[in-house]
């Protein structure tokens, strides 16, 4: 009896350790990837882990994040949409596991933001509104999510520039997001850590 419980526990312990190790290695890989091939390889790993684990949202989240990263480098609109479709697929899987995760919702907003770039003239209105609304939702789920704030700042900055309107509010949000990045703490060792650079880029244009 005791034995089976013990061996079960060690199994679990090892499994968890294995999960975190594998995830950590691939998260490092995706943050440091230089080429689309490297991103794709990391995405593939996340998809394998996700398919094996079934109850973890992080693998699907990072796979989706990988596709968003690839879409930022893609110039062809049709291919960009295809990548964003894949990103959305991953997000839907992540959401099915954890519906109210602020990080997942923030990444969903990022996808909408990238949809705008395919065809700003026709998509701008619809998708920029959806992006802002989604960032707002991410912040309501976790007011301390620095990525949601940074993306919101970026989106607002772009809109203000387009309308030649004051960028004050966007810049305040960028500053705020940097403070949030500084104080951000998560109990989840695999929590996302990207996004600080984009806030800094916005701030650079503010001064």
């Amino acid at each position: 009896m005791i034995i089976s419980v013990l061996s079960f526990c060690t199994g679990l312990l090892f499994a968890n350790d294995k999960y975190e190790k594998a995830m950590q290695a691939n998260i490092d890989a995706i943050y440091n990837a230089q080429s689309p091939e490297q991103i794709q390889a990391a995405i593939n790993s996340f998809e394998r882990i996700g398919a094996a684990e079934k109850s973890k949202w992080e693998p699907f989240y990072y796979a989706s994040f990988g596709y968003v990263m690839m879409s930022t480098r893609e110039l062809d609109g049709t291919k960009k949409d295809l990548l964003l479709d894949k990103a959305t697929e991953g997000l839907n899987k992540a959401k099915a596991i954890r519906a109210d995760e602020s990080e997942i919702v923030a990444l969903e907003g990022f996808v909408y933001m990238m949809r705008v770039t395919v065809d700003p003239a026709t998509r701008g209105q619809q998708y920029s509104g959806m992006a802002m609304q989604t960032f707002g939702k991410a912040l309501s789920l976790n007011p301390n999510n620095p990525r949601a704030m940074a993306l919101l700042a970026q989106m607002e900055f772009g809109t203000a520039q387009f309308f030649k309107a004051p960028t004050t509010s966007a810049c305040e949000k960028a500053t705020k997001s940097l403070e949030m990045f500084e104080s951000y703490k998560s109990e989840n060792a695999l929590a996302p850590a990207w996004g600080k650079e984009s806030a800094m880029r916005v701030l650079k244009q503010c001064n």
Binding site: I2, I3, L6, S7, T10, G11, F14, K18, A22, P36, E37, Q40, A41, N44, S45, E47, R48, I49, A51, A52, G77, T78, D81, L82, K86, D119, A121, T122, R123, Q125, Q126, S128, G129, M130, M132, Q133, G136, T159, F162, F163, K164, A165
Partner: protein, 717 residues
Amino acid sequence: MKAAIFLILFFVSLFTFGQATISGVVKDEKGEAIPGANVSVEGTYDGASTELDGHFRFVTAETGEQVLSITFVGYKSFTQTIQLNGQDIELQVVLKEAINQLDAVVISAGSFTAGEEKRRTILKAVDIATTAGATADIAGALNTLPGTQKVGESGRLFVRGGDGSETRTFIDGMMVLNAYGAAAPNTPSRGRFMPFMFKGTSFSTGGYSAEYGQALSSALVLDSKDKADINQTDIGLLSVGGDVAHTQVWDRSSVSGKVQYTNIRPYFGLINQEVDWIKPPVSLEGSGAFRQQVGDHGIVKLYGNFNRSDFSLYQHDILNPVQVKAFEYKNNYGYGNASFLQSIGNRWTARGGFSYNYNEDDVVLDGGPMGQIEKGTHTKFVFENSVSDQVELRFGAEHINISYEASRLDSLSIQQVLKFNNPITAAFMEAEAYASKQFVARAGIRSEYIGLEEKISIDPRVSVAYKPFEQGQFSLAYGRFRQTPQNQYLRVNNKLAEEVAEHYILNYQVINNNRTFRTEVYYKKYLKLVKFVNGNPGQLTNSGTGYARGFELFWRDSESVKNLDYWVSYSYLDTERDYLNFPVTSTPTFASRHNFSVVGKRFVSAIKSQFGITYSYSSPRVYNNPNEEIFNGGRTPAYQDLSFNVAYLPKPFLIIYVSATNLLGHDNIFGYEFSETPDSNGTYVSRAIRQPAPRFLFLGVFFTISKNKSINQLPNL
């Protein structure tokens, strides 16, 4: 002892009996390496991505029977059962291309689609709303596409030698009767449905699917938007009225409503009008929509619209223009539509709905009242089955009931009534199959039972498309189409058979990098058209015939010049008919041989404004001059119009919109009316049918109130 067993178990769980290396290469059907494919032992972390040369290699500690899977975007997944017993495995895998990709061939003969969903479309949903000269009217925008003939005094869609009644509108698959608003005689009417309601528009100028019936020439299929995403209130102040709309969203549902009041009285005071109004048109319109998401992919949509409009005017006698008759008109209209879409399992989808149409026209002409009421219901169910990646099967049934009643007081003040009730039951079945990415065929059959005629009809519809090159593709379509005669004829003779048209279409299309070229050749044969016996409108038969043939060109380019998007359309039409009161075969008065349009759009960010310009040309149309021997021997001047619009966005939530039609002030004449009797010299006196005003000027200010100030109404304009 216990400790010993524990230790053994511990080591057993830690160490593996043996490791196997799985390696191989992944290629496509042409033998090219596929890099980046995901190779995995299902249910484990073990796996690898293929390298640039398609090779992969990884080590797994799994044992026994396992499933190896290989996946890559755009290809069908590959799976194979493998036995892992410590021995290495090497595999050569060929991935087959999945067909449902963006670059696969599509059936394009006869159809223009506008929407965001399918990205390789010729028009964007927003194009419908931002075309200059269209003043946000769906038909107005589609009239700049090839296959249409400009008929300025009607405002409807006249397609390939067909008249306006031969184009049928469908909303979410449900039939719409009286799709155009009320208008004074010889003035253009506007569509009742605003373009911003729809996420997609498919405009077919022939050869459409077996799903759509009761349309001789053209099907306009409108797909309404899904659940709204943003709470917002829109206010519009227009030079001819105003509107207020509000949208409220919840997690899985949304509600929106709009009220619009239009009164062109102030406007008619400003600009000289051809029409002698007693009371210019006033209309009050309301619409509402409800959306509810159901399950993972299901949705229920409800939509309702009512409209009340009236006007009155003096009709001047042609012989003696000071002699007038008062013409008073009231229209009550209601449309309601409920539709659903639900997937059943992986392969089946069910959709369907119910629609109700009500239209009442009340006219008082020179003190004599007359009127007509039409009520229509439509019920429909469709099932779709994805038999495989390559084969799609669709079948369904529908029931349409149209009841109609016209009445007037005759000279003895006795009420004369003409009425009918026409139930139509139809079933259709259609299969679409991809042989490869290069070749697709669609074959369908539609059967209808017409209650009044008491006859069953069976019509075939076939399309194929072939894409021999990377970009260009050919498409061919054939189909037989039918439609019950218009109410004004069916009420005289209830036993009239359906009118019939056969379409033959050949299309070539290239869409590449925001440039589209498209050309189409067609032949259309008309059979069983309504014909007057010896010119007597009280005696009708189905002995009329006709044909239309022509070719069309379309070019769109939003790539070559930065921030400029333009398209050019040309249609050539040769058509003749022997129908209605025609004593001989002749070109009908609504047909014009050459139609040409150029549409341009440009956003200038320095002044935050979007500019649009449209030029249209139609060659002369025929008219019948009773003073001449030859039937339909007269020729109108050519039609020309240059329209312009600008939307200025000073603030993200505010738009100021100005549009003007016929900037050049061209005197467009659509035809001539003649006096019923000759004058003292024995000649029939003519009067030109002109535009109600030489120019139409429109000014609007639109506000949007929402939490997010950047949302505005531009997509709606």
